[in-house]
């Protein structure tokens, strides 16, 4: 493990700020994200509301809704969805990857072929089919993200487990006659964890991008729910007159993804290298 210094940790600041903003977003939000201010539509960022004179930090949209407040609410939902999806798909991937890598033979062939088959349907199409069959909604979006996400985790975990099986300590454990369950629980899993956690952090940003695409296409959570992808979709109609409506949520997605990826890299240096 690397030595921890404040110069290294300062890079975590943006990550911490974003997490705090998103967790406490609704408390910080100056306005109800759905309340319309008809006298203050399409305000540019940093303009003032007509009635109250309050500051519209990131401007307002075509219905006079406060973009800053909507960003905070939408961000909370996207992060929540992505994290739950990563927890679900990560757990499935970890279990399947460990079992496949450890047992190999038929089990391995079975699960890996299953993964190959799934990857032969582009994820977005699979998502579209599932949503169109089962309907939109938060739970279904999480299910879709989890289904499309487990394969990459399983593959990463599996190759790590196969490496581990070659090591002396696992082989001695096998020679000592320990059961599979005990070896996996006490010797394999603790050594897979670092690789697994780094992989899952990066998966969160992948999920954020993917769920943003779904809500942009209008096949994500219901249209009335605030999402960054949905905000970009609505804002696209106003590109000529009000660039900020679509641009701000887009930039927010990029900033969050960059921050999470940097955090992932930092964690990888700390844990794996």
């Amino acid at each position: 493990m690397k030595h921890i210094t404040w110069q290294n940790e300062i890079r975590l600041l943006p990550f911490a700020i974003i997490i705090i903003l998103i967790i406490f977003g609704p408390l910080i939000a100056p306005f109800d994200p759905n309340s319309q201010h008809m006298k203050s539509t399409l305000l540019t960022p940093l303009a003032h509301y007509a009635n109250s004179g309050k500051l519209a930090i990131l401007g307002t949209d075509e219905l006079g809704r406060d973009i800053f407040s909507r960003i905070l609410y939408g961000g909370q939902l996207s992060l929540l969805i992505s994290i739950v999806a990563v927890l679900v798909s990560g757990t499935i991937g970890l279990i399947i990857g460990t079992i496949s890598g450890y047992l190999q033979r038929f089990t391995d062939t079975f699960f890996m072929s299953l993964g190959d088959i799934q990857l032969s349907i582009p994820s977005i199409l699979l998502a579209i089919v599932i949503i169109s069959v089962f309907g939109s909604g938060i739970v279904n979006v999480i299910a879709v993200l989890s289904i499309t996400g487990w394969v990459s985790t399983a593959r990463v975990v599996r190759s790590r487990v196969i490496q581990l099986k070659e090591t002396d300590f696992i082989q001695s454990a096998e020679l000592m006659g320990l059961g599979h369950g005990i070896i996996i629980w006490h010797h394999v899993l603790p050594n897979v964890m670092n690789t697994f956690i780094t992989q899952e952090i990066l998966q969160i940003s992948r999920m954020i991008l993917f769920s943003a695409s779904l809500s942009y296409l209008g096949v994500g959570v219901s249209l009335s729910t605030i999402t960054w992808g949905g905000m970009i979709n609505e804002g696209q109609n106003y590109l000529q007159s009000a660039w900020w409506i679509a641009t701000i949520p887009g930039v927010c997605i990029a900033v969050v993804v960059v921050t999470i990826n940097l955090f992932g890299e930092w964690l990888q240096n700390l844990l794996v290298a």
């Binding site: 032969s120 582009p122 199409l125 991008l209 942009y216």
Partner: protein, 307 residues
């Protein structure tokens, strides 16, 4: 050789069969397929009639068999919204998607190979840093947002290109650039890593000893050795691009299959959704098969069955 190709062919067919089975199961999981196939305001009588018509009163294995047979015969039924055969709808839209995808992959390959090569030859220089940061950034933006940024800069502000539609040839540039953003990052990264690896090899050292410069070495020979992993990535990325086309076509109202499938979902046009998904998967499986065959010819190790 025949053995290898045959094995890959059987694998592809099995994958296709699995895709068809998954779609079949998903449709049945959702309840009565007739209900999905009919408009929302269909009466009970309509459902019963369609049930009989689709053979939904038969046992499941027979339904499955009929479903496979009708798809193999190219019979995907009729679109609920457009009231015409699903196959003809897809055939109308296919050229638009193909031209978009082909142009995009060409852009991505050219840009990716150039950037990756520059990065590898002048490793750790400022050129390398710019290209690496660019790749990092492009992966952090949702691709539809890259499309919107391009529209804003080049169509709204500078007015060089139209904002949407298919007024050729100008209209294809922005969507193709957007779609190229998907594969350009992995192609650049793979090219860079792979070329760096090749340049570190002993034969390159020997050539350097003979007095060849890095640029000479790269262009005369080594680029070919570095291309194999890039080819695999290109094959994999073609699949991502098919998904990307769905989003890109929606951003630019590009009249291809991607836009068709999104509209089909919004209109709950199930026969159309089912057919587009199957056709796109067929394309994807075929592309992967083709990449493998190409790989077979390029890499002697695969040919001799060593990998």
């Amino acid at each position: 050789m025949v053995h290898y190709l045959l094995k890959r062919l059987i694998q592809s067919v099995l994958t296709l069969l699995s895709v068809l089975t998954i779609v079949f199961i998903l449709v049945r999981l959702a309840g009565n397929p007739a209900q999905l196939m009919l408009p929302v305001d269909a009466t009970r009588h309509d459902v019963i009639a369609l049930n009989a018509n689709l053979g939904l009163n038969h046992p499941l294995w027979m339904q499955y068999w009929d479903y496979l047979v009708s798809i193999l015969q190219g019979n995907f039924g009729e679109s609920l919204y457009y009231k015409q055969s699903v196959i003809s709808l897809i055939a109308e839209r296919l050229p638009a998607t193909l031209s978009l995808a082909i142009l995009a992959i060409i852009i991505a390959i050219v840009a990716g190979i150039i950037m990756g090569t520059i990065s590898a030859i002048w490793k750790d220089s400022w050129l390398d840093h710019i290209s690496t940061s660019f790749v990092f950034l492009i992966q952090s933006f949702p691709t539809f947002f890259i499309g919107i940024l391009l529209i804003m800069i080049f169509a709204v502000k500078l007015r060089w290109f139209p904002t949407f539609g298919n007024d050729m040839p100008k209209a294809i540039i922005l969507p193709a650039l957007t779609l190229a953003a998907y594969p350009v990052a992995p192609i650049t990264q793979t090219m860079r890593t792979s070329l760096i690896e090749v340049l570190d090899g002993k034969f390159v050292l020997a050539k350097q000893a003979m007095g060849f410069t890095d640029v000479d070495i790269v262009f005369n020979r080594e680029i070919k050795n570095a291309m194999l992993p890039v080819l695999t990535i290109i094959g994999l990325e073609l699949g991502t691009m098919i998904g990307g086309a769905v989003v890109t076509e929606t951003v630019f109202s590009w009249p291809g299959i991607g836009q068709l499938v999104v509209q089909a979902v919004q209109k709950r046009d199930f026969p159309l959704i089912q057919a587009t998904v199957i056709i796109i998967s067929v394309f994807y499986i075929f592309i992967n098969f083709a990449v493998d065959v190409l790989y077979f010819y390029l890499d002697p190790r695969v040919r001799k069955g060593k990998i």
